[in-house]
Subunit: 359 residues, 4 copies
Amino acid sequence: MTPPPQGLTHQPATSQPRQQFGSDNYAGVCPQALDAINRAATGSTPAYGDDAWTRLAAKAVTDLFDAPQARVFFVFNGTAANALVLATLCPPYCSIIASEIAHVDTSERGATEFFSGGAKLVTPPTGDGKVTPASITQAMRRTRDFEASTPAVVSITQPTENGLLYTIDEIRAIANTCHDNGLRLHMDGARFANAVAALECTPAAMTWQSGVDALTFGGTKNGMAMGDAVVFFTPQLAQGFAERAKQGGQLASKMRFLSAPWLSMVQSGAWLANARHANAAAAAFAQAIAGIDTVELAWPVQSNGVFVLMPEHVANTLRAQGWRFYTVFGSVYRFMFAWDACMDSVAALAADLRASAQG
Amino acid sequence: MTPPPQGLTHQPATSQPRQQFGSDNYAGVCPQALDAINRAATGSTPAYGDDAWTRLAAKAVTDLFDAPQARVFFVFNGTAANALVLATLCPPYCSIIASEIAHVDTSERGATEFFSGGAKLVTPPTGDGKVTPASITQAMRRTRDFEASTPAVVSITQPTENGLLYTIDEIRAIANTCHDNGLRLHMDGARFANAVAALECTPAAMTWQSGVDALTFGGTKNGMAMGDAVVFFTPQLAQGFAERAKQGGQLASKMRFLSAPWLSMVQSGAWLANARHANAAAAAFAQAIAGIDTVELAWPVQSNGVFVLMPEHVANTLRAQGWRFYTVFGSVYRFMFAWDACMDSVAALAADLRASAQG
Amino acid sequence: MTPPPQGLTHQPATSQPRQQFGSDNYAGVCPQALDAINRAATGSTPAYGDDAWTRLAAKAVTDLFDAPQARVFFVFNGTAANALVLATLCPPYCSIIASEIAHVDTSERGATEFFSGGAKLVTPPTGDGKVTPASITQAMRRTRDFEASTPAVVSITQPTENGLLYTIDEIRAIANTCHDNGLRLHMDGARFANAVAALECTPAAMTWQSGVDALTFGGTKNGMAMGDAVVFFTPQLAQGFAERAKQGGQLASKMRFLSAPWLSMVQSGAWLANARHANAAAAAFAQAIAGIDTVELAWPVQSNGVFVLMPEHVANTLRAQGWRFYTVFGSVYRFMFAWDACMDSVAALAADLRASAQG
Amino acid sequence: MTPPPQGLTHQPATSQPRQQFGSDNYAGVCPQALDAINRAATGSTPAYGDDAWTRLAAKAVTDLFDAPQARVFFVFNGTAANALVLATLCPPYCSIIASEIAHVDTSERGATEFFSGGAKLVTPPTGDGKVTPASITQAMRRTRDFEASTPAVVSITQPTENGLLYTIDEIRAIANTCHDNGLRLHMDGARFANAVAALECTPAAMTWQSGVDALTFGGTKNGMAMGDAVVFFTPQLAQGFAERAKQGGQLASKMRFLSAPWLSMVQSGAWLANARHANAAAAAFAQAIAGIDTVELAWPVQSNGVFVLMPEHVANTLRAQGWRFYTVFGSVYRFMFAWDACMDSVAALAADLRASAQG
């Protein structure tokens, strides 16, 4: 929050000259979510979630999962959702097994350690970023002593941080390993909708029917302004979550501005349509850069991200042209596509990439 | 988040039948803040605050305070703002002196203890809820041993939780006591705008010019959907705040939806106009219930809340009529007025109260 | 830990010229505890409590309480014992009700807040330092909102920090109030033996038979070098304690040096004999200063501490004569008597006090 | 702390039938430390470290390091020493780089995460358990984003958990890398004396003269009953340590029973003699098992531990014969030798191992 750069007008333009694919957080608010905010904006409504919007939104989510007994909470963002779930499921003296590229480990600045009061993340190497039953078993073996933080939870990201999907069978196998060992299974679904869209399964099939105990259901990346949902499929596991959320600064006083967009997104089907569009944009981009010498995909494109291996000079050229994207490591670069991905911009980016690589 | 009550339509009505005064959080979003959300909704913008809206909003706030060196942060709510500031200013093995009715002690479910990692709130009795130099000195005397959590910060709420105002002179006297004793001074300004409106002073006069080190500047109660600002007037005191906010789940990915409304509210002057209107509604209500036997004000009305001493049967009757308000304790009841207070509703409430008390 | 004062010999003298009564921590190790250390000093023994001394010591403690099902743990000191018990019984988002002079609140520098990860201490005024059913009920009323840290535990100190005793009936009444309200009852028995000696009851009567759920059983003040015990009378409440102790740096690798003295103290009866002697010394001192004008007892002498109201000049004179004691507040001064109290020194102190007050 | 096994006499025998080498914590208290306890046992001494023993012990340690400005603290055990140092040096939102076999990561049950309030341990693979400048640089590269817990400290164990030594040059190179990157360097010296004995250097050379900022100086494994020292070579880095120790339950009330043995051990030279003996026993054992087919050393023997690769059936036979030792992983087994290692027992163990392997 440094002083504004020179030359900025006093009000930022409402549209940027060029769409960017650095993050699916660059996108704005989709019409359905925006409409809900506008409709909730007036009138007098009880605070802290004791309102009709919030009750209906929670009901819409449990309906979506065909899980009437599930407990649903709305918090401000995904880091808080993940950290609060993990703190609820994992005592401070235990540990959470996750992939070595899990967002909870690499990108939340110790939120899990902080919210849990000392729980440890154990991240066995996985190869492709997907936790396996074998990697869980291996991590358990290394931490079975009383001296170590015994695992209590496994956290998987669906889709993973590098854009891969767990199949339903893979989730079920992980859940079985968890439950055989007394562990709970958390799914970080910051892009959950993208996974549902890609696997063409029901939300239930991908979660509680496969053994997932608790889900972070991402709303922000799905097209809202902010606000992620937490779903506990076994209600007693939610014990203490509401209190932790309050203590952790995650109980919105005007809760309806988190919940009304959820109601709208779920009821309208925008949650799934947005994800389908984003996935399609990623597929289109991958298609458009296929067959370029020196450029290849780091991983198959299975959701809304494309991870590209390309020479550093290509990346530099693209950046000099004004494109924004992340360097994951070495010469692997990430392009993320959101609900608002403009196919012309996708094509323009692909064309620039091709030109630079072949130039 | 229990199942919705019977008879609710599938979409809540956008306006409630009757305006309520239980909390200034019952109100919706004012037009200026809503307009900003709508204008920020489209286009591609870098995430996590690295955007023009956020830069301009931070600049607008430092301009408002005539404090170019100040550091400004936007977080999701007031509990987080308070707890993160106090955790930044107070080591885990020290304490914070506050009033015994301070929101940070009574209504944030241990957020300060949690975010700080163990700091203690020390709440000497104050009589009217206002911290005094003498109450600080007394609290310091009780905790000067190495065995005790030595005070490091004083936190005052302006206006207080019972609607009273510290005068500029009172703030300066408290700040002097703080600084003479090596303490920092935090102001919880959840309703800061109401205090500025009431005292008709500049934001600077009420804060850094009087010795306040850090401010929680409330946006939600002032008419936004969510989002409070934190202002450190001495930049080096902000050391670690951004990192704590990230770790604490308070860094919005689509930050512009917190910051754009701030920009709009400050630039348009709505922040102050909203507060003036709310204060005026409170004054009108107090005026309208004056002179009723058995009903009196628990404290003078100095901002946007009215605290009424009235017989329990009067409260019960009002509630039976559908009015919502808080019982503070015993037979003291709280009525809060927001930016959207409808003078007709205020008058209707007053009339019902008068009728019930005199009936 | 500043550099040593001038003139100190390179090895401190093993006995100080004058016995002091500032704290019962000034005393050394009693012969029974010392003998146990010497006997445990040789030989090869498994670490971390997996040894015969520790098993026998735990058994001796459960025998002493006639509570075979109880779980016993040995930790390094009383602050850790209290904080770990309270963290085990109280979630981070709840609170603990204690007296406003409770050691856990005034003298452990936020250990409870720290170990629990954010639990709050609620300390209703009690008059004489003894929690009452009414003070519990009052504290619960103030914190019943979701916004507040709901009470989960009551902690009482037996004897209290000002030397008073709860009767068995008082403990039972408190326990009933706790259990009627879903609260657990913790007893901080830093001087538990002194209470048993004074009330001439069984350890069982004062604890689980009266409804105490968990006890901190003080060893250090009772004549050991260090090491307090924790006793959970309901074994399932101990869930997580061992793990918290390990994580909290309270699992002694050479555990036998904590446990062997406990075994010796309990089996020999020294635990009770030491306490009786200390109590008798306090009574003798109180007796010896009775009837002096301007000097009176602040509270009745019921255990091993004497709290004296006396003119400041008398305190100053005594200190000038080399006596060490604590100023509690105002002109109330504390004299503590330990297992090793020398009756000649007690008499000398009383004589100096009398002379100074009457001089 | 389960009930005692059948047949145990009511007092454990003071010597076990067979010396064991599972841990250097199996050993008792050496005569010099025991003598200090006995000598400190009587007399009246101020509590909490305000006593002559503690002042002299602190002075003896700073003299030993030729570092008069250093700050010295005595705490109960090594886990607490490490965790408190790291919490003092590392903010909750930063991280500590350590070896993937570091005791602070594998064997302290999240103590560092807990005491620091959320700091993360980052453990790049090292090959042989020794942190290198390259592994630090690599870990820093992976965590340089604002989203990650930026490293603030490097912690190295000297000797390492697998018995290897950093040379003075290696320590200096690590320290240079640290300081070039704004990191502090902590040395976990749970077996510091063994390293000094092995490298035949001064304590100063291995620590502050090579750039170490803070040291955990192990006393328990060196022959004391309990109690490790913490040494900050730069006094201002100790800011807050004493307060954290108090809050963390690590301020001994009868401090002299921690400090007097330190005074005795340092002044008598027992600290170094004990370590030399332990190292010699390890060397003798390694020598005695040399040349056995199917048995080899997992790592060179450089301090007081011997890590042996041997067939599982050999380990099983030894255990059936009553020998206790740890399985590190796979078929690597650990034998630790303490100040009291009896050369006959060492020879007996070696003979049994040889017989079993060659049988």
